[in-house]
């Protein structure tokens, strides 16, 4: 053991965790993030989802019900995506995340910087959000992840 070596412990990446920084708040990217999280949870991986900036805004209470925004580069597809989602009975990104939490460990944290910037309190967010954390707490999770994504 090298507990007193003064060196940082050389923790091996934990192959069973996926960390996602969810920066975006458009429905298309939320969908992509939710599918990644659900897939990883179904595969038995732990998922750390860190919401920041527009990702936090998308989790304000009730917002997901009316969020039809899509990425600016494909803005003309916004209504098409909504129509196809409805026609094909696709599950919403929020439903995906709820399903993921039913079967696995999906921890959802909101960025304290964004919360302060936009005067958002944790009670203003959907109850699916577990807590508010800073960047260090997220990095601590991310550095022990086999997969890290920024969406």
């Amino acid at each position: 053991m090298f507990a007193n070596s003064g060196q940082e412990s050389a923790t091996a990446p934990q192959a069973n965790r996926m960390s996602i920084v969810l920066f975006s708040g458009t429905a298309d990217k939320l969908m992509a993030a939710s599918i990644m999280a659900t897939g990883a949870a179904a595969m038995g991986m732990d998922v750390e989802l860190f919401l920041t900036t527009w990702g936090v805004m998308a989790f304000r209470k009730g917002d997901y019900r009316t969020n039809t925004r899509v990425s600016a580069d494909y803005a003309e597809y916004g209504s098409v995506m909504q129509e196809q989602m409805a026609a094909k009975k696709a599950t919403s990104w929020m439903e995906n995340l709820e399903g993921a939490r039913e079967i696995g460990h999906v921890h959802i944290a909101a960025c304290s910087h964004t919360m302060e910037l936009f005067d958002i309190k944790v009670e203003d967010l959907e109850p699916i959000v577990d807590e508010v954390i800073g960047v260090a707490a997220f990095i601590e999770q991310a550095r022990n992840s086999a997969i890290s994504l920024f969406i």
């Binding site: 897939g39 949870a41 179904a42 595969m43 038995g44 094909k88 599950t91 995906n96 399903g99 079967i103």
Partner: protein
């Protein structure tokens, strides 16, 4: 044609990714070791997803049957 009997049947036809593996993971939790589950899907990704899921979770993919665009997978719980 189905060639084996299953203890549990899951119909994931019409479900889009990632719902088939979510449905499978949910149903599998209710089985005991050695029991067999049959899941049918129309998602094009399922052909590769279900084997990958089995590989990662340690459950055993016994057989895959494709019929009229419907994929049916038989898996045994580890």
């Amino acid at each position: 044609m189905a060639t084996m009997t299953a203890d549990r049947v899951v119909d994931a036809r019409g479900q889009m990714c990632p719902m088939p593996i979510l449905s499978l993971a949910k149903a599998m939790r209710e089985l005991t070791s050695g029991q067999i589950i049959a899941i049918s899907a129309t998602d094009q990704g399922a052909k590769r997803d279900i084997p990958a899921w089995a590989e990662k979770t340690g459950n055993i993919l016994l057989e895959t049957v494709e019929e009229n665009g419907i994929l049916t997978f038989y898996l045994k719980k580890a």
